[in-house]
Amino acid sequence: MIGDSPDPALAGSGGRTGERPRQRPLPGVAPGSRRGEGWNVVETTEVRTSGPEPPPGEGEPTPPDERAGRSPRRLVALAIGAAAAVILFPLAFAYLRDPDANRVGVVALAIVVGVGGVFLLFWVLNRTVDFLPARFRETIRPYVFVGPALVLLLVFLVYPVFNTIFISLRNSSSTEFVGLDNYRFVFTDSGMLRSIRNTAGWLVLVPIVAVSTGLAFAVMADRLIRGEAVAKSLIFLPLAISFAGASITWQLIYSYRPQGFGSNVGLLNGIVLGLGQDPVRWLELQPWNNLFLMVIMVWMQTGFAMVVLSAAIKSIPDEIIEAARIDGASELQVFWRIIVPTIIPTIVVVTTYMIINSMKVFDIVFVQPANAEANGTVVMAERMIRWFFQLNHNGRGAAVAVVLFIAVIPVMIWNMRRFREEEAIR
C-alpha cells in the first residue's frame, strides 16, 4: 500500500484525470510545499484524481461518484474476480504448503496472495454492501470497514483473553477448578508482591523518561539544519536490534567478572577499574539494579516515541510557530504553548503505548544473567512467563495476566475520555 501511494510531488503528472476538472493550485502555494495536511488543498484534489490504481478486477475509469455497483460490467468483473479468488487461493495455498516448492516462487506467491487477498477482501465486501437496499447500506458499511479487524482481533486476541481468564481459575495443569486461589497467590506471595511494586516503578518511570526524551529529541532534531535523519536513525537503531538487544547488548555494558575469571568485558566495570576501584556486580546491586534494567527499556523505546512524535511535530504548520515567534514568544513558550498542546493527542497515544509496554515487559528481566527473584528485579510479566512456562503452573501465570488486563482499565478510561473530547471539538 505504501508503495502504491501516489507521490504528492508528482501528482498530476500522470495518472487518470477522471471526469471532473482538476483544480488549479492556489496562488502562492508552490506544488510540493505541503504543510499540515489540512493546509493543502492542492494535493488533496490532485491526489484524488491521480489516486492509486483500483484493486484488481475494477474495470475502466468510471465517474467516481457513480455508484459502482450499478454497472453490469462491473458486476461481471466482480463475479469473475470472486470466482477466481475462490479457485486460485486454495491452489496458491497448496503450493505454499508444498515443501519442495521453489523458495523464490513461494515468496513471490506469498506476497501476491497475502497482499492482494486483503485488498480484494475489502473491495469485494464494499461492493457487496452496494447491492444491499439503500436504507441498510450506510448502517452496514461501517461494520464492513471495521469488520475484518474485529474478526481477527476476536479470534487471535479476545478468544485467548477468555481462555486465560478460564485457566486462571483452574489448577496448575488446568484440570480442576480452584476458584480464586491463584489470585490469592498473586496478592500474597512475596515474589509476586515484589513484582507488583517493581512493575509500578517501571510503568511510571519508563514512559516518563522515554516519552520526554523522545519528545525533546524530536523537537530539537527538527531544528537541525543538517543531520536530522542520521541523528534520528541512531536513536531508532535500538528498536531494530531487538534480537540481540534482548540478550547480549547490555551485557557489553553491565557484565561483571570477579578476579581470576579474566578481564572485565563490560563497559561500566571497565570504567570503574580505570578509576582504580573494584568491579561492581551491577545486576545484583539492589535496588539500583531495577533502574539499570529500566535504562535498557528506555534505550529501546525512546526511538519509538521519537519517530511517532516527530511525525506529529512536523504536521504542525510552520506558520503558527513562526507567528508566535514574531509575537515575541521564547522557544520554551513555543514548546509549551504551541507544540505540546497541538500534539497532545499523539503524546497520549505514545504514553499509553509505553505504559502498556512497561506492564508487559519481561524479556529484559528474563534474559539477564542473574536470578531475578534473588536480586529483587522481578516484574509481573516476567512472573507470568515463569509461572506459565518454567514453573509449570498455568493457573498462576494466567492469573497474573488477568491482573494485568484489569490494571490497564484506568488507562483505557483515560483514553476514552480523551477520545470523546477530541471528537467534541472537531
Binding site: 502555494v29 510545499s33 458499511r141 471495521v146 535523519a229 528498536l239 557489553l252
Partner: protein, 314 residues
Amino acid sequence: MSATPIPAPVAVEDRRSTAPGDVRKGGWFIRITIVVIVILWSIPTLGVLITSFRAEELVNTSGWWTALAHPFRAAEWTLENYREAITAAGFGSAFMNSLAVTIPSTVIPITIASFAAYAFSWMEFKGRFVLFVAVVGLLVVPLQMALIPILRMFTQGIIIGTWIVFPDLDLNQSFLGIWLAHAAFGLPLAIYLLRNYIGSLPSSIIESARIDGADHFTIFWRLIVPLSVPALAAFAIFQFMWVWNDLLVAYVFLGGSQENRVLTVALRNLVGTTGENWQILTAAAFISMALPLIVFFSLQRYFIRGLTAGSVKG
C-alpha cells in the same frame, strides 16, 4: 469535493528561512544536547558492532572498547563471525521465509487497520467508542498467553459441545496462519496510531468530499490513504521490524524445521543455548538488523517529506 473551498492558508511564504530569530541557524545548546544523546544511545550499539568484528578469543579476554585504542591493527578484526552466520545451513531459505512472512504480515494489518481507523474516525455506528477503546485495550494481551490457544485452534479448531465455533483449518505451519497471527497482534497498535492520525485530519476535507457525493470507500482510498502516508509509513516500519525480528511467533507457528524456519530461528539455533558465543550473536544481530534498517531509511523520507515544509527550505 475539489470544488468546495477548503479553509487553507492563503499565500504562505516560507517565513522560516527569512525570519530573523531563526533557531535553525543557531542553537549550540541544541546541537550539543543532540550529540550527547546520540552518543549515549549509540554506545551499546557500537559495542555490538565492534564485538561482531572481533575474534572469539579477544571478545572473551578484553573489553570491546579496547579495540578502539588501535583501530587499524588488522589482527584485532575479523569477518569470520559473519561468514559463520551466513554460511550456516539453510541461511538462504531462512532469509526467503522471513521475507515471505514479513511482507504480507506488514501489509495485511496496515490495510485492515487503516480501514478500521477510518471507520472509527469518520463513520457513525453503534458502539464506536467502546469498540475502539476495547481494541486499544487489547494492546495489553501478552503474546505468550495467546500462543497456546491459537495453536490449538489451528490444529483442532474450537469446538464447544457439538458446536463448531472455529473450524479446523489446518493453519499450523502455513504462511496464512502466521500472517493472520502477526496481523492480529499488530492490529491494536496499528488501529490506535492510525486512528490518532486519521482522526486528526481536518473534518472539512472529508465533509466537502461527502458533499461532492464521494462514498466512504472512495474517500478512504483516494483521500485518506494518500494523506496518511506518513503515519502508514511509520507503522509499516515498526511492524516490519517486529515481524522480521520476531522469534517466538515464527517458531511456534512455522516450527523449527530446516525448510520452514525463518531467519531469527535459524540464527538463534546457530548460537545455541549457553549464549556464550557473543561474537556470533552480535554478528547475527547485525545481519538480521540490516533489512529493517533499509526499510527504515527508504520509508523515512515519506514520513518526513510528507509533513515538512520540506522541499522549499529556502
